[in-house]
Symmetry: C2
Subunit: 378 residues, 2 copies
């Protein structure tokens, strides 16, 4: 699912996201809480109505962004990237002030005011947003957290899940599903305990959050182990992997039994001039800002049905527009990247139905373009 | 015609501009000369091919932007706005170094290098761009120029026109038209002399450039006088009014006999959160960043067929997205504004054919929405 972080997939209209075939988007409760605020969204008839998106919306709990302000950039930590304590630009003005049993105190990056978010208020905000799937309020523990901290935090997350479920049962929109989140960092016993606890709750689906390790190998092991535990204790419930979306990680995730993913990667890469292409050696990335594309007449990817490729916009043109800072390039790359991911997932979904997942993943890993890429827009 | 300043209508794909019904766009020779450079555009098969725009392209001569660096912001001067000597942000790093009989020396804002543009090289660049209509190289004199300077400048512009025509006759693309430009500032005798000189040349069309006065009243007088002179001496040739595009100025211009216009206003206003609406009292502008729109559930303009209004995106949503700095809002407003202008021109065009121009302009000036607004996308 693409990110509609602040209630819009960056640079696109909702109907364009629908035209790409996506059935879910993820919106960030943290950002929408601060602006425009849940009351205004509710008054507008909910987030579907406000952003004119008729399909499903997943809202996160708000926790991830708040904890990022205290733990450094959790996204970087989870993926084993870079500097501890670094903050993302959007959170530069905000701060995590205190983590308490009751909830979390933080400073708003919008107006500098002190705010408090607790499981119940996270649920209340998500109810006002009117999302189809709400996520339970959790602490997203980073890679550098100790085992002891990770254990205590996971237990608090479990108590918060209970409070979320209780609030939701009494006040939540009847048609809204609620997913619990498995924490436990890179520790098998903690992941196992967390998976059992979440599976024992009456949540509608199960998301896997927190640190998945220092590198892709460890991530694969942590996800594999956690999914096995989830599948053992709640075989029928849908499984979501939070914040993961590199092409190879999506392939791995599907092989391991993940049902849904959300990630900023396709849209963020697009804004930075990087196109997704079937090139595993280059991590499926083509950086169109590089000088070698300045005279390249071909589109990003021959046979691709996205507006950029089907429109025959050349790599040279995109390169030039990126260098010139023209929004048109950002948009074309965003559309291409989202289409690439949507078609990749089409391929994987179809191969599961056909019983050919192993072949499909092997082909994709060997650099095959998703077959659906060719046919979708025809 | 919308501006494709650097070879893209900001934030849009070419096919979207076509879908709005525009048949011409204007690209800036100055910007394209500096990057990506005429050789690269030519190698790509010309600007039509590079930007995937199959309809007509007008290229300006490059002079306007160069003279802006010396005369201050010519656009402001022409329209009687504000500070002399102010520079636009894109030109902040550039500078006009010298105006000579041979041409103009300036410093590139891209790489700081000294460059020289003369009538012949402007034509050569426009030939490489492969535009359908090229504009002759002229000096765009600002409002604060003296009568004496304006007269000398206009005479040099006429000599430059001859050189442009000579180069174009020998080397220009056969299918490319060349427009001469009438200068002369706010002085009737200079405008008359310029109109006669340009009309006496074998140029294919006539553009009106330079200062049109300190306010709309004077602009109306200068344009009316100049058009009469042009019509007297070259009744059959198309007339273009350079850089004008406020809604009331378009209506006035059409009444006075202008055929085509180019202007940054619809796209630039969109980027700044301002929507065009049929509200003459508010200069046809609705500033959606204003607080009073924060809870407004209606679209920008009921009955409007643009993607923003037909998609039922509310003013409240656009207000919020603008405040949050989301590109989606900029895009929706750009599409709305360009559609508004395209439909306004449809109305005026149809009313000319029907012999009801006076009624149409009176209705539009009284705040009627363009009728074409309702039907175009149906």
């Amino acid at each position: 699912m693409p990110l509609a972080t602040r209630g819009a997939v960056k640079g696109l209209q909702s109907e364009e996201v629908g035209a790409l075939g996506f059935e879910l988007i993820l919106a960030n409760t943290f950002h929408l809480l601060l602006a425009p605020g849940p009351e205004l969204v509710e008054e507008a008839g909910g987030l579907h109505q406000l952003m004119r998106w008729p399909r499903a919306i997943v809202s996160d709990s708000g926790g991830f962004q708040i904890f990022s302000m205290g733990h450094g950039t959790v996204a970087d930590e989870i993926k084993g990237r870079g500097a501890r304590g670094r903050r993302t630009s959007t959170e530069a003005g905000g701060a995590l002030l205190a983590i308490e049993e009751e909830g979390v105190r933080f400073r708003s990056y919008v107006d500098g005011r002190e705010r408090f978010l607790r499981p119940e208020s996270s649920m209340a905000v998500q109810a006002k947003l009117g999302s189809d799937i709400a996520l339970a309020f959790d602490e997203c523990t980073p890679y550098h957290a100790t085992r002891e901290y990770t254990a205590r935090s996971a237990q608090r997350t479990h108590r918060w899940l209970e409070r979320c479920l209780r609030w939701h049962a009494h006040h939540g929109p009847r048609e809204q599903a609620l997913y619990g989140i498995v924490q436990g960092g890179v520790y098998d016993d903690l992941r196992s305990e967390s998976a059992q606890t979440v599976a024992a709750s009456p949540c509608d689906g199960i998301a896997i959050g927190g640190s998945l390790g220092a590198d892709k190998q460890q991530m694969r092991e942590v996800v594999a182990f956690t999914i096995r535990e989830v599948a053992r204790h709640a075989p029928e419930r849908p499984r979501h992997l939070l914040g993961i979306g590199d092409v190879d990680d999506l392939i791995t995730g599907v092989q391991l039994g993940v049902d849904t993913f959300d990630c900023a990667i396709p849209t963020r890469l697009g804004r930075h001039g990087v196109a997704l292409v079937p090139d595993p050696e280059a991590r499926w990335r083509m950086d169109l800002a590089k000088g070698r594309f300045s005279r390249a007449p071909e589109p990003i990817l021959d046979g691709c049905g996205c507006p950029a490729c089907a429109g025959r916009y050349s790599r040279a043109y995109l390169h030039y527009l990126l260098r010139a800072g023209e929004l048109t390039a950002v948009r074309l790359l965003t559309l291409h990247n989202l289409n690439f991911i949507a078609r990749l997932m089409d391929d994987l979904r179809e191969s599961i139905k056909a019983g050919t997942l192993a072949d499909a993943t092997a082909a994709l890993r060997a650099g095959a373009a998703p077959e659906a890429l060719r046919s979708y827009f025809e």
